[in-house]
């Protein structure tokens, strides 16, 4: 009996919880029936062994009970997964390296060993995180894709109309552009997260002596870290969509517009906050340049200008992506 229990356990242990009991009962009865049929005159134990051998490898039996495939990312998505993974990991590596090098100028007291240790620690955890997120995103896509495919099969299968159009030259989205966009936003987010002091005015007052005036109020800025990460994720999502479609079409334009608007709203909501800026920035810069008070107004209008630039560039992106999407739609 013990052997039978072990066999049943071996089959069911890897199956979905809901089905386990049902399948266990089924197999148990099956083994019982097979034992009864076994006419040869051998001890019970021997009979059980023969029956179980006849049923075959429990792993294989479990496999045929399990209909869903057992992989996170299937062969059809693996190539783009690997491509995106390489870009993201490369960009994270580059971003953190740059952020560390820049950041190390500001904390010289830490010493080279300390800098290298924290660099390796941050690098390791950031690479792990990016690996996990990219993989999770693709696994979800795979999972959703499976359902989509099943529905399609029942519906009508493949039709000629589904053959992709050869992309017109202007409709194609350059992969290089996508790669650069991902790299730059990764570098930007790495600096914001790990070395926000790097955004600063660097004024050399005397040879070998550089005065650094940070643009942001680091403390306030760090309160917005989550928002920056959100903006970063929206941006990556947008690039991933562009990469996936590879050409402009309305199906791409609409999510691109939505993502652009969302990240613009988030960006503006960060920068309208007056505390985020280093309040003394303008004054300190002026002190070193000995320039007059008129420049102070310029600093203020620069801040407004930044918001206008964000709005304008979002508008331009919306209009161009809609224009291209409609023009090259199919």
């Amino acid at each position: 009996m013990n052997l039978i229990d072990r066999y049943v356990y071996a089959v069911t242990k890897g199956l979905p919880y809901k089905q386990r009991e049902d399948i266990a009962k089924e197999i148990r009865t099956l083994i019982d029936d097979m034992l009864e049929q076994h006419q040869e005159d051998v001890p019970y134990e021997e009979k059980v062994k023969r029956v179980l051998l006849g049923l075959g490898d429990p792993e294989l039996l479990a496999d045929s009970y399990r209909e869903s495939k057992r992989y996170l990312i299937g062969p059809q998505n693996f190539e783009s997964y690997f491509f995106i993974l390489k870009i993201v990991l490369g960009a994270v590596f580059l971003g953190i390296t740059i952020a560390t090098v820049v950041g190390s100028f500001f904390e010289p007291q830490e010493g080279i060993i300390g800098i290298i240790t924290s660099y390796l620690a941050i690098l390791f955890s950031a690479l792990m995180q990016s690996f996990a997120w990219v993989t999770a995103a693709f696994a979800i896509a795979e999972y959703k894709g499976v359902n989509l495919l099943d529905k399609k099969d029942i519906k009508e299968g493949w039709s000629i109309a589904e053959l992709p159009q050869l992309p017109e030259k202007d409709a194609a989205i350059s992969k290089v552009e996508t790669v650069f966009a991902i790299i730059f936003s990764t570098i930007f987010i790495s600096i914001i997260l790990f070395a926000p002091q790097a955004f600063a005015a660097y004024i050399s007052s005397s040879p070998g002596n550089t005065i650094v005036i940070p643009v942001f109020n680091i403390e306030v800025l760090s309160r917005f870290k989550i928002l920056f990460v959100a903006i970063f994720i929206l941006g990556i999502l947008k690039e991933a969509l562009k990469f996936y479609y590879g050409r402009w079409t309305l199906k791409l334009s609409i999510p691109v517009v939505i993502l652009s608007v969302a990240s613009a709203v988030l960006t503006i909501s960060i920068f309208v906050n007056p505390d985020i800026w280093n309040a003394n920035f303008a004054l300190e810069v002026m002190k070193h340049f000995e320039i007059n008070i008129g420049e102070l107004n310029m600093w203020n209008s620069l801040k407004t200008g930044l918001i206008i630039v964000i709005i304008l560039s979002t508008l331009i992106e919306i209009v161009t992506s809609l224009y291209k999407g409609i023009k090259y739609n199919q």
Binding site: I23, K25, E26, T29, L30, M34, G56, L60, S64
Partner: protein, 117 residues
């Protein structure tokens, strides 16, 4: 010399052929309800071999596809899950049979043609 290889190849070709007939064989025996093992025995008596490891998961899949209905018999000593064609399964089975007959006719034609030449 190569007979062993040829045998293996032949076996795999036969397996391939049989694979296409498994579902229709199973459906054909389920006008009246059967449990897994009785179905194996029934098919075996009629010369169709199918092992439990293939049949049991297949029955489950067919049930999920709503071709079969099942119910557990808990009254008797051994709990048994009985399967039987659903109304939908019946229609599908009839259609499959038509296809099968048609296919056999065509295959006969093809093979006889070969024989004549």
């Amino acid at each position: 010399m190569e007979s062993k290889n040829t045998d293996a190849l032949f076996d795999s070709l036969v397996l391939e052929l049989r694979r296409g007939t498994i579902i229709i064989s199973v459906l054909s025996q389920l006008k009246k309800q059967q449990y897994g093992y009785s179905l194996i025995v029934r098919l075996q008596e009629k010369g169709v071999e199918i092992d439990a490891g293939t049949l049991y998961p297949l029955l489950r899949r067919l049930e999920k596809q709503e071709l079969l209905e099942s119910n557990w018999d808990v009254e008797s000593a051994k709990p048994r899950k009985y399967y039987k064609l659903s109304a939908y399964g019946n229609t599908i089975y009839d259609k499959l049979c038509q296809h099968w007959t048609e296919m056999v006719r065509k295959m006969d034609q093809l093979m006889n043609e070969e024989g004549v030449n």
